[in-house]
Amino acid sequence: MEIKTEQFSEVAREGLKNAHAHAFLKLRANFVRARRETALSTFPDAAAAQTYGATIRGEAIARLPELLEEFEKNALANGARVFWARDAKEANEYIVNLAKEKGIEYVTKGKSMVTEELGLNEALEKNGVKAWETDLGEFIIQLLHLPPFHIVGPAINISVEKVRDLFIEKINLKEPTLDPVQLGYAARLFLRDKFHRVRMGITGVNIAVAETGTLINVENEGNIRFSKSSPRTQVSVMSLEKVVPNLEDALHLVRLLCRNCTGQKLSVYVSMDNTPKKDDEMDGPEELIIVIVDNGRSKIYQDKIAREAMRCIRCGACLNSCPVYREIGGYAYGWAYSGPMGQVLNPLLLGLERTQDLYRATTLCGACKGVCPAGIDHPSLFLQYRAKDVLSEKTFRPKKRGPTERSFFRLWTWAVARYWLWNLGVRMVRPFINKEAHESVLRNVRGPFEGWFRSRDLPAMAEKTFHDRWKEIQNQNPEWKIQKDNTQV
């Protein structure tokens, strides 16, 4: 998948201009928020349930290697095949070869963000294997050659008109209709044929259970169940962090995932795979192949703070709560993962240098942290990434900060601990700042603050700071004089 993280500002601007999308996202945000809150209220103690989810994910990350080993052991004992891939190249090569060995012409795919990260579809198609996305949203954006707009609803921004025209052009929609039900039905028929004859299905993994070697998928449409049951070969792709200790933990996370994601108590289908089909079963995979993908995660794992980003269970609640996402939509984030979870993950997987905007285009408002069932502190991670740039921490492929900024903070540090110098600095800077002031209002200040003044004024710097005024205030109120030891005179 093409990486466009360096075009953040450009694409964000496009997103901002789209008043239609903006109105839609705003309306949707309120609706989704209410649904999530209602769903969480079915817990006797919603906050405790969220905290428990965070505990499970924290433990999963802390015990990652042991849990992966346990998962592999049990999966192998169940008769699954397990392939470990260091990176996208290895994962894609393996899956492409699997398909070619078997003479596979096409695969059906369940929605899997890790396969988008790997660029798996492109690799398959380059090698003559067609990859059909079958989740309706993914199917639509595949036909449109667009990236996902939202990790849960990848085509949620596409107008019904556009879908109609697309389906007329690409999938033989006969009646030009704007009824989403009819459009969905057309997609159902088209993809049904693919499910019928598919020989290899590729899906992601929501949760991998270490204790039993079980793979869990959560979906509403049924395309994942089809991709696992109709073909003779099932390939399930998971990134390292999908593993959890046991089934009770998995069930708790599934409850949280569904409520946080779509406001459902449970999604329509939760399918749990253990083994290939038994000999006497009439459908199901003869081969169950699990691909475990690293792609930079074992490197991230070396940093105790950064690896907290791996707690993510891909529920999308952070996207739904983010005021910035609401303005710019998903394309600006430039890769498989968007919104706050993309902002914490993409920089670690792609390097800080090419993802600068992802952890700087945030007000640190904390809405994401507030809804996260996995306990991720997004704002704190953003600050950590900024610190890594400043310290030039090589493992993260940082971008060195400019000399002006570094000089500024050198000066700032010197002054912050010396109040007389601080106040002197204020006095010296005031005439420059206030040069353009008119009736104590600044409408523009030359220099690096052009962004602010595009649409906002600023009060002129006060002729007397409060610091200056305090002495006068005290003199006006002699009973207020306080001695150095904080007692009254």
């Binding site: 949707r28 006797p44 103690d45 990652l64 049924g222 169940r225 253990n274 070396q302």
Partner: protein, 226 residues
């Protein structure tokens, strides 16, 4: 001596293991599952309410006889001509082949077909409804629990546009854990797949507008027996 290249598995695991480790915090108490305190009638009511909310249909019948009568009624309403049935421990005793003859419905089982591909063709193209039993009915969300095995093929409950599930009320449980305990209790006898199914297939991928029957069944009917 040539150094053998470390396998990807070993390389990844050793990298993870050599990272700074963290003491695992002790867990707080697992949150309480409030549904556990309900009695069966309350569970049945909760199950029905939840499934109906997802546009599922719930019928309560006394016994096998009434179940068959209900099926006749459904066959008429839904104009069923050909159905694919499971041969599991709930459906088998109903003798649906006989019922089908009496009700002008052609009743097929996966085993009727000599081979997998013919069965798959039939369940994709020629089936108006799939009829299966269920191993569990979970009250907390109106969810069916289906173990897949030789007598309950997967596509029977997934491919046809209508899924009819017959569930003895004794199999009603409050929460998912009670189903999972039974299914995953013995490591040696794990099923190939276990599914929780809550109502019809759905999507809201076009402009957030929800509708049913995306890829799986558009309608789900649960017949609670007992």
């Amino acid at each position: 001596m040539e150094k053998v290249k470390q396998s990807a598995r070993d390389e990844i695991l050793s990298k993870l293991k050599s990272a700074p480790r963290e003491a695992v915090a002790s867990r707080p108490d697992r949150p309480v599952l409030k549904e556990l305190s309900l009695i069966r009638d309350e569970l049945i009511e909760m199950f029905s309410k939840n499934l109906v909310q997802e546009t599922g249909v719930v019928h309560r019948v006394k016994d096998r006889q009434e179940a068959l009568e209900k099926l006749s009624q459904i066959a008429q309403e839904e104009r069923l001509k050909k159905v694919m049935i499971a041969t599991d421990d709930v459906v088998a005793p109903l003798n649906l082949v006989d019922w089908g003859k009496k009700n002008n419905v052609e009743v097929m089982t996966p085993q009727d077909f000599g081979n997998r591909d013919s069965y798959v063709d039939a369940v994709f193209e020629e089936t108006d409804a799939g009829i299966t039993g269920a191993d569990f009915a979970v009250a907390e969300s109106g969810t069916l629990g289906l173990v897949h095995h030789r007598n309950r093929a997967r596509l029977v409950s997934l491919s046809p546009i209508l899924h009819i599930a017959i569930v003895p009320v004794e199999r009603m449980v409050a929460v998912y854990e009670q189903a999972i305990e039974k299914v995953f209790g013995k490591k040696e006898s794990l099923p190939s797949q276990f599914c929780f199914v809550t109502g019809p297939s759905m999507t809201a991928d076009i402009r957030g507008i929800p509708f049913k029957g995306m890829h799986g069944p558009r309608k789900v009917i649960a017949i609670l027996v007992g």
